[in-house]
Amino acid sequence: MKNVTTKLTKYLPAALTLATAAVSSDAFAQAATGTTTSDVGLKAIGAGLALGLGAVGTGLAQGPIGAAAAGVTAERPEKFGQMAIWFFIPETLVIFGFVGFFLLK
């Protein structure tokens, strides 16, 4: 339970910031297109969540992978390239988040 609270404290502000940014940018877009406020707002929140949660997921995945990769590279520096590939694989989550973000925008 303590872990969950710590995680929320850490990552919630970042997710909210992203969501707010998305909402405010869409508020400007709404004036130009004439769509209803609630539709635009919900889409913006969705876009913010898609990007924000993708980034949080990437961070959670890269933590342990990075630690293990650092251990492997410390013993065998020649494995750096291979470890970098494993390390970057979770970046796909945030890329998918970006795709969702732009589709919803």
Binding site: N3, T6, K7, G63, P64, A67, A68, A69, A70, G71, V72, A74, E75, R76, K79
Partner: protein
């Protein structure tokens, strides 16, 4: 949130890769002569520690020193990469070598072996300083050995002293007292569920081996080591009384023809368990446990092979020694 074993186990896995492949061990076993065996070794990662073992006129003493040096270096490296809670758990795993060394000392002192012989049979790992072990090998009797070891600061030194003060004098009494103290300390020092499961299995195996040894004598529960999973105190007394029936998969230990075969089977079972723990415990001390066992086996095999080549044993005899060892 971050588990420190992610980094530590990444390093240990790479250290495991550096252990000799079975092909290299086979090549060493197939060497026709001792010099050829040394040449095979010099083509592996052991070469850094071979030192004087390859010099002209060098014998088994130099080879043993070289292998011990390699072993010690691996253990020291392992200790150097762990800190905090993992360090405490790895120290608990290294107590295994303290246990083996203290048992070697007790056996050596009781049977009156020379200090050099005793030191030659010890493993340069564990938490007791090597200098303290060498000093302990000079002891003339078990009480003075217990006194020296307890002053040196090892946990098992205190256990041995308590056993001696409690009146234990026979080899079996002392060994079982050491086992009981060792498993008590290890189970209180290791937190990982998978590794604790491994140790409960090890306790079961040890209890079965002790029960086998007690057959034909008046069995008593003071030789029982608490903390096991499948072998209860009543099972222990029943088996010590001559009953072979046990429902668990440990039955082959009881059914083995003699104690040597039973010990070989027990070792194999524990090796399999250690490997299973390493597979199922990627973010725990299981990987370190498996590495230590593999390294121990590697050095033991190289020692036996070296002896076989030095004394000119045939391949069949060597295979038998390796299977028993």
């Amino acid at each position: 949130m971050n588990n420190p074993y992610g980094y530590i186990n990444g390093r240990i896995r790479m250290m495991r890769v550096e252990l000799l492949e079975s092909r290299s061990l086979d090549d060493a076993q197939n060497a026709a002569t001792y010099p050829e065996y040394l040449r095979q070794l010099s083509e592996t990662s052991i070469r850094e520690d071979l030192g004087e073992a390859t010099a002209q006129g060098a014998g088994l003493g130099q080879l043993d020193e070289a292998l011990s040096r390699n072993y010690l270096r691996s253990v020291q490296k392992l200790r150097s990469i762990v800190t905090g809670q993992p360090a405490q758990e790895v120290e608990a795993l290294l107590l295994r070598y303290d246990l083996q060394n203290v048992k070697t000392l007790v056996r050596g002192v009781i049977t009156g072996r020379s200090a050099d012989d005793i030191v030659g049979g010890m493993i340069p790992a564990g938490t007791i300083p090597w200098s303290a072990l060498q000093a302990s090998a000079q002891s003339s009797d078990v009480p003075s050995l217990a006194q020296t070891l307890s002053v040196a600061g090892g946990k098992l030194g205190g256990v041995l002293r308590a056993a001696v003060s409690g009146g234990a004098s026979s080899m079996l009494d002392l060994e079982v007292a050491l086992d009981q103290g060792y498993y008590r300390t290890v189970l209180s020092g290791v937190r990982g569920v998978a590794v604790r499961r491994y140790f409960t299995r090890e306790i079961d195996v040890r209890n079965l081996l002790i029960a086998r040894q007690l057959r034909g004598t008046a069995a008593t529960n003071r030789y029982f080591i608490p903390g096991g999973r499948d072998v209860t105190e009543s099972d222990f007394l029943r088996i010590a009384g001559g009953d072979n029936g046990t429902a668990s998969d440990l039955a082959p230990i009881l059914e083995a023809g003699d104690l040597g075969v039973a010990e070989g089977l027990a070792r194999k079972m524990l090796n399999d368990s250690a490997r299973a723990v390493a597979m199922s415990d990627p973010l725990g001390p299981g990987v370190a446990l498996d590495y230590l066992r593999r390294k121990e086996q590697e050095i033991a095999r190289l020692r036996l092979t070296g002896r076989a080549k030095y004394y000119g044993l045939s391949r069949e005899e060597l295979q038998k020694e390796l299977a028993d060892g």
